[in-house]
Symmetry: D2
Subunit: 351 residues, 4 copies
């Protein structure tokens, strides 16, 4: 059994990790840390886990934790993971960080978008960006996994094949994303009260959202050059789910025409056809967040619009699973040589 | 592997059965019938099961189905199961009926509340009312399981111990129940449109809801005499979940006082303390539907109100799982000698 | 024009007051107080009022306010209104208090249920409990109006005629109430976050909710003796609306039978038939919160259940309008001799 | 009093018309037609209007209706209004059509996108596209008003000033729109059931939605040449509201830079600064559908993104008010010489 420690289990992503690890056949939650919750059973915060997971919070003294864990998950605010990482820690555990601390290679970009100093720039080089389907080969031997963000996972997986193959002009890429409210976390903020979110949709962080540089960095690798994208997140009155609708101009083929939907689907098939957790939808079918809720799937649909010469790329995932805790477990599976889907087989829950 | 056939997989309860059976380690869906959907893959109706369950609908010709199944689930409108049952069918398969056809022993009560003639009254005698926690002993050898209704399961499990022990006066029992909208089925009715249900709560079927006689019959067995209850269902703007709030006068003890909350909890502990799927909540904690969503749990909380001399009994379950498909699988497990919780271990999903 | 001052306009009930007063043909908002928001335009907190109501918050120094107001509304936490009331204040303004400070005549009952000392018990005697339909005669000449609570208004209006007429046994009265989330206020609490409320229903404050003594006091007046009721509130995933489902045993008539639904409706017709803001629904129709949203209506439906000998009484209102700000404006109209429905004519908004 | 007839009052847009006309000080509903509902009171379909609007449905025989009406609203399926229009009708009443029949000048475009033959192409020339803020001058003397669609009103009002002024390159315009579910109508379709819409977001009609040519035609007038736009609608789990997020490349100014947000806001101020029903939001504020619910407002926010050289334009309105019935009443006011905002003054309802 893999012994897993979790810091940040009080939040939605952290609690989803507990749920997944608790049902994982080859792993167990061996330690959860929280200074303010010390001694409190986890299920008192998350009643769904009553009589399912009996662990209680320890204080957040890492030294003891590290001795009892094989892997440490940090579902913590920006800056925390970078503040605790060091050689000793990495001798004892694999680190899977669900925050942004190790996602961006260029420390100045990180510091600009997040507005805080990076405490461990020396470890950025070795950290592997854990988008499993694209970085599978490098994950197994890593010590630090930078678990991608929710918007990011959905955006990159959706657009990657067309950028990589040069089918679209990446300078025209516009990503309009919609998220359920669990992405905003469990912090008690007026803006996230039921009555403020219900019966409402809004854009936020327009032109300034922190997931932008993460998307740009990964898609720039695919494009082979630096690209800039428009990214706009929206808050939707639902608990879980991210939907990405992306637009980009299709490059003309040598015969002067643009590819049709079928050709685009062929490219996705080539890249993702064998992926367990990516479902390419048939022509004419659009992804919907309800079809992935509670699962580790990313559903992708595509449409070539000959009228405008653009591709409309759509992706859907559960922000707490493939967009956070599920992908973290998928990374753990890769790190420990388990089949990638271990503990992640649950079908989506509908309705 | 148990081979399971399902009629009515186009509905929410039926589709939940497919989801549970599809993830069940000892069972598989071997046949699903629907005249109008013949040849269509199940996942075209329920996109969550895309690339998870590949079965397609057969026409609803039972003769072929029976040869390929060990158990037949009917998640069908009232009257259907009674119309197909016969000795031949029961030689080939166990029948687990999710409709009301075999729930009520007195055929005249059935015909009065449901307004249709019962086509197979001769089989009522042997059918076992499949409320697993209360009828476990008789389920194993049955040929026909009458799988209880969603409101009913929640109401009976919540009130049973106090009625059985004579702690409350059953003539004062009032059950105020609240249900998510999936209980209303997938039929296209104006009353169940999003805009009609959202931002609304209403009572319906006041004094006339068909689950009433089912609750009364089962609680009458517990009381040792015929009792009559007030039962009022309400429609709540959420997908899943039933919450029951029940009220009844506490009988005075020999010392003239009424039992306190702690004593009441002790009685529940005695009845359900070892049940895997019933969680008795600590004093002061009220059940909430979010804590059971997607799981087979029933959560029960209780409060003795010394001011009014009444007990307030609260129960919560997922109407599609413990209130329908999950309990049906639990019954299947009992029928086939499997551990009762096989395939039903998934923790509730929150948020 | 009536000049109205409001303390507590930062909350949902207070902001609804601003909305109603802002559209009132005979009143205007002349002052809103908040120490922490001084100088800030109201519409920055409530974007719906942008370019509709341009008033900004003053600090909460009452002395200036009183000189510029004819009426002062306090939509404030318990204890505040009692702390500011005095003879000088009442010489300058009428006080309409939306908190509980002046609702309960017996100061010891108030202090027991609210757990705070009452700062102005000397004014309890003259305060009029402002349930307009029942206290219209006494409101006009009052100096202090105790504006009733949301649960309370709905519960009392729904049950009053049957209690007053002795049709039901008041000792058997059980009130099961369901509320939208705006009733919980705009305070940033984890329990009221979207993801905690959505897809959930729960009871809370079982046997201990503070609206209980208010209901009991008013219904005791109707019964002519002290009565005790069971009252259980529930939180429903919707913004606005309260639904009350009440149960009570019908008293037998001299011929040994109980009244039927038609007779009960006749009694409501007698009490409320001419009321502008109470709509008695036809036989067989149940109230729904969607039909009153945004309006000052209370919808009442009733059913005599001959099987159980009980009446099921149902009432629905908008907790922010008839349950708070609308009734406060109705009281203001009565205090200033305006037609009672002035500024309250808006039809309910659906969907 | 203007006497108004309505065909299609059974639907959400039609019922909103009844609500608005019913509260309009200078108009009254004099006739509503429906063959299948003849004799039934309107409030039986829309309980909110119980004791507010007492009119009943007549059969849909127009001849009688025309004699008793000054204006006829058709909130009907495509093709109906074109099938009834003729010179006689227009002698008796003004026609305000909420369907698409008279919105598109080029009959072949209409027939291509709607797939039906246009029955009255001879009246297309005189019909005025009733986007009040842009066509005010021509509306007053028209006989036929083509009341714009909901997505269309929001998209055009949001983008018009930047297209008209040549600030953006219209060939790069991408409109990503999100709508509440009332836009889908009251027809009983499985796709619009509560459980299908709740906890879900999806795109639909990608590259094929019928509002596209309407947007293109109007923005082409503004651009002075034919333009083609990408338009993608999404279904959001809320009752009311449309949010448009539009993207377009900013043209460089003579100094090589692109305009900043402040400059863009200045252009909106120039076009809409005096409009009663368009609210231009301050820099940094994004429109939210909750702030316009129940009102005739369109809220517009804008952001120049210097990183990408694009403008992000956001607009929000209530699809049933400014997107349908409210704009229809606004057109009626213009047609009959009333102040444009008569009967449309209600502030948005929040929460």
């Amino acid at each position: 059994m893999i012994k897993a420690g979790v810091i940040g289990a009080t939040g939605y992503a952290g609690s989803e990790l507990i749920r997944l690890l608790s049902g994982h056949p080859e792993a167990e939650v061996s330690w959860i840390g929280s200074r303010s919750r010390e001694g409190e059973p986890f299920h008192r915060l998350y009643g769904n886990m009553y009589q399912v997971e009996e662990i209680s919070f320890s204080n957040d003294d890492l030294s003891k934790a590290l001795d009892s864990c094989d892997v440490l998950f940090t579902a913590t605010p920006q800056g925390y993971a970078a503040s605790i990482v060091n050689g000793d820690l990495l001798k004892k555990v694999k680190l899977i960080d669900l925050s942004a601390d190790f996602r961006i290679k260029d420390v100045s970009v990180y510091e600009k978008w997040y507005g805080i100093e990076h405490k461990a720039p020396g470890f950025l080089g070795e950290a592997v960006y854990g988008l499993c389907e694209l970085a599978r080969d490098r994950i197994g031997s890593a010590r630090i996994i930078a678990n991608p963000g929710c918007y990011t996972t959905c955006s990159i997986l959706s657009c990657y094949p067309l950028v990589k193959e040069g089918i679209i002009d990446p300078d025209t890429l516009i990503i309009d994303a919609k998220s359920g409210t669990s992405g905003a976390g469990r912090g008690a903020k007026e803006a996230n009260l039921f009555c403020e979110v219900n019966e409402n949709i809004k854009a936020y962080g327009v032109a300034t959202h922190r997931h932008t540089p993460e998307i740009e960095e990964q898609l720039s690798y695919a494009a082979g050059r630096e690209i800039t994208v428009s990214f706009t997140p929206h808050l939707v009155p639902m608990n879980r789910g991210i939907l990405v609708t992306a637009y980009a101009s299709l490059r003309k083929k040598s015969d002067g025409t643009v590819p049709d939907t079928r050709e685009l689907l062929g490219i996705y098939e080539k890249y993702y056809g064998k992926e367990r957790f990516i479902r390419i939808l048939p022509e004419g079918v659009c992804p919907e967040t309800r079809w992935v809720e509670g699962s580790n799937f990313t559903d992708i649909g595509i449409r070539a619009d000959e009228r405008t010469g653009r591709a409309v790329i759509m992706g859907a995932l559960d922000n707490l699973v493939k967009g956070a805790a599920g992908q973290a477990v998928q990374n753990m599976n890769l790190l420990f040589g388990l089949p990638e889907s271990t503990g992640l087989e649950a079908a989506p829950l509908f309705p």
